[in-house]
């Protein structure tokens, strides 16, 4: 296993994640294009056991794409992934789940028409034997216990999730992943649509999972204060590459903000230059014509 870990040491300056044999997940040189759009150029990432990794990046930087590749929903164009040092090529979401990866998607993947407990158990339904009818009573009971354990307060679990508030829906989506035997949990903006109190609940939950040390978490967040509070380490994606990879203890809100702002300025300047060049081009063209 350690040979594999040492095999490909990324060499892109600060970007290089220091691979270690205790990595539960390692992502190497992942690239992904959607037609003319390059979502991911060359992403290297690693996740240690029990670690909470904050994935940062501006809108459209490719964070959600990376999550969708890791969770088996999409396939990368290039690059490899390893789980516990072994090559990991998920064929489907189910396959990824069999490898112990659970995901909360940005759009939550909740089914409005189904009840809270059916959503919690979607694709993990409890059924009777030998006739595989849904064991609704058992699912209700287990759902209630799971939600209580997590500390999420949903008054009724047999109502359709369409009737819940945004924060409650988010909580259900998070609870769905926690309520599993996963060892890697991917959270795509778990605090979106949440009130301060509900958000704190989710962060508490993450802290508790971290303290238990059984699962490793990759979490996309936008609020840098939350990142520094909840994560052990941050990776920032810019233009489809990892631009920064540091323990949270060694960085600050200022540094993270600076990187993003500088990037923004650079992009704006580049745009200006391009615009000017284009304008010049047109002027020249006009003169020539």
């Amino acid at each position: 296993m350690s040979e594999v870990a040492d095999a490909q040491a990324p060499q892109t300056g600060v970007v290089g994640p220091s691979s270690a044999p205790d990595d539960v997940l390692r992502v190497e040189h992942i690239a992904k294009r959607f037609g003319p759009v390059t979502a991911l150029r060359d992403v290297n990432l690693h996740l240690k056991k029990g670690e909470v990794l904050g994935l940062l990046g501006d809108n459209g930087a490719g964070k959600s794409t990376l999550i969708k590749i890791i969770c088996g929903f999409q396939k990368q164009d290039a690059g490899k992934m390893f789980i516990h040092g072994e090559l990991y090529e998920p064929r489907s979401v189910d396959d990824a789940r069999a490898h112990g990866i659970e995901t909360v998607y940005q759009d939550l993947a909740l089914i409005d028409e189904l009840s809270v407990y059916h959503n919690l158990f979607l694709r993990k339904e409890r059924v009777h034997h030998p006739i595989p009818l849904l064991a609704n009573r058992q699912m209700k009971r287990e759902a209630r216990t799971a939600l209580d354990e997590i500390g999420i307060n949903i008054p009724r679990i047999d109502v359709a999730v369409a009737r819940l508030s945004g924060g409650q829906r988010q909580a259900i989506a998070v609870a769905r992943t926690v309520n599993s035997d996963a060892d890697i949990i991917l959270l795509d903006e778990p605090l979106a649509a949440m009130g301060a109190k509900e958000g704190a609940q989710i962060l508490d939950l993450v802290a508790r999972l971290k303290a238990e040390g059984k699962v490793s978490i990759i979490m996309i967040l936008h609020n840098y204060v939350h990142v520094l509070e909840a994560c052990d380490r941050v990776s920032m994606i810019q233009e489809g590459m990892i631009a920064l990879d540091k323990p949270t203890a060694e960085t600050s809100v200022e540094e993270l903000t600076d990187i993003v702002v500088n990037e923004y300025r650079r992009a704006r300047e580049a745009a200006h230059v391009a615009e000017a060049a284009a304008a010049k081009g047109t002027a020249n063209g006009g003169a020539a014509g």
């Binding site: 929903f73 489907s92 979401v93 189910d94 789940r97 995901t103 998607y105 759009d107 939550l108 993947a109 909740l110 089914i111 409005d112 028409e113 189904l114 059916h118 979607l122 694709r123 339904e125 059924v127 595989p132 009818l133 849904l134 609704n136 009737r163």
Partner: protein
């Protein structure tokens, strides 16, 4: 109402636990109505009851056993067709090709019997397998190639209605296994104290015909069994759960790991199977295989209507098989009632359309009351 307000123990009538509540008045009709409305099928049950009561009050023969037998073919086949269609409609899709399967299945069955000599039951099995293959093809084009289901199934509707005409040369034939045998039986009569024996003619149909649609209650039994089984599948199995999930949030379902394409193909397959089955039943019941696309198209629309009237959304995500049965019953009651009332045949279609609009309006209104009712509870 007044008594409910006076009883302090019962704070929430909608959550009523039944059992030991004692009102000074009778347990109000309103409460029963509330219970009924709380069901998804509630509104169409109410509407059907009102329609039946109307015809019972206005005609002398509506509420008779003989009329019930007349009513059966008006609704049992539609109930089976609608049960399959509901599985597609919950996905948010539609299957128009059931009209073609209905038409094509008995013709194929006839050919398998007359030209191939396959025998009755194997013929039925092969016919249904072919129908399922066509359904799977529909599902493939909708789920994998991603052609809109209306367009896909319109194409298969035309193709297989066309094929039915090509194969049958447009000529009606006698349905295999549905032949009526007449035997003479000696029946003893007592006339003025004398016993006399008379030869009487009795019509028989074979066991095959009795089971596959020919028997008086055959289609009703099939309809009830199929509806019950499919309702259980819809409510209590993973398949049903995934069907609702796909109709409600296709992307979310696939992100959760539901194999969306597989479930969609399976539902189209089921729908074609029920249509083929009904086609054979109706051919056996009537004794002839009629290559008549116009009739088949009317049946297709009535089946879809039964599903919608029964409370299944055309937009998907919600539906009920039992509701489809009651929707079919409503259409049957309406058709039968109009005939009994002596409505001019030319007016019948007009009244049918009018009644569907009125019923659907009542349905939507009652549904709104239901949601408001549940929402406040």
């Amino acid at each position: 109402m007044a008594s409910a307000a006076q009883s302090p123990a019962q704070s929430d009538p909608s959550a009523g636990s039944g059992g030991e509540e004692h009102h000074r008045s009778l347990p109000g009709g309103r409460e029963v109505l509330n219970r009924l409305i709380a069901l998804r099928e509630g509104s169409i049950i109410v509407v059907t009851l009102i329609t039946a009561i109307y015809f019972a009050a206005n005609t002398s023969s509506f509420f008779t056993g003989a009329n019930f037998e007349t009513l059966l073919p008006y609704f049992a086949p539609f109930a089976i067709l609608a049960a399959g269609e509901v599985f597609v409609m919950i996905l948010g899709e539609i299957d128009l090709s059931i009209g073609a399967m209905y038409l094509f299945a008995p013709i194929l069955f006839y050919k398998l019997d007359s030209s191939v000599g396959l025998g009755l039951v194997p013929g039925v099995i092969v016919t249904l397998l072919v129908c399922m293959a066509v359904g799977a093809l529909n599902g493939f084009f909708v789920a994998v190639v991603e052609i809109n289901s209306f367009v896909t199934t319109l194409a298969t509707l035309f193709c297989f209605e066309g094929l039915a005409l090509i194969v049958s040369h447009g000529t009606p034939v006698a349905t295999p296994g549905a032949a009526v045998h007449t035997t003479e039986v000696a029946v003893k009569h007592v006339v003025n104290g004398h016993t006399i024996t008379l030869q009487e003619k009795v019509n028989h149909i074979g066991t095959f015909a009795k089971i596959f649609g020919g028997g008086t209650y055959s289609e009703l039994i099939w309809a009830v069994a199929i509806v019950l089984i499919l309702q259980v599948v819809l409510t209590f199995t993973r398949w049903g759960l995934y069907t609702v999930a796909i109709g409600s949030n296709k992307l979310g379902a696939s992100e959760a790991g539901v194999r969306v394409k597989l479930v969609m193909i399976r539902n189209f397959l089921l729908c074609a199977l029920t249509a083929g089955l009904v086609g054979i039943f109706e051919a056996v019941r009537s004794g002839t295989v009629q290559p008549d696309p116009a009739g088949a198209n009317e049946i297709l629309f009535l089946a879809v209507a039964a599903g919608v009237i029964g409370g299944t959304l055309l937009t998907g995500g919600s539906g009920t098989v039992v509701g489809a049965l009651i929707g079919a019953l409503f259409l049957g009651v309406l058709e039968d009632g109009l005939v009994l009332q002596g409505v001019n045949a030319n007016y019948k279609l007009f009244y049918l359309g009018l009644a569907i609009i009125v019923a659907m309006t009542a349905n939507v209104y009652v549904g709104r009351v239901r949601r408001g009712h549940v929402g406040s509870g």
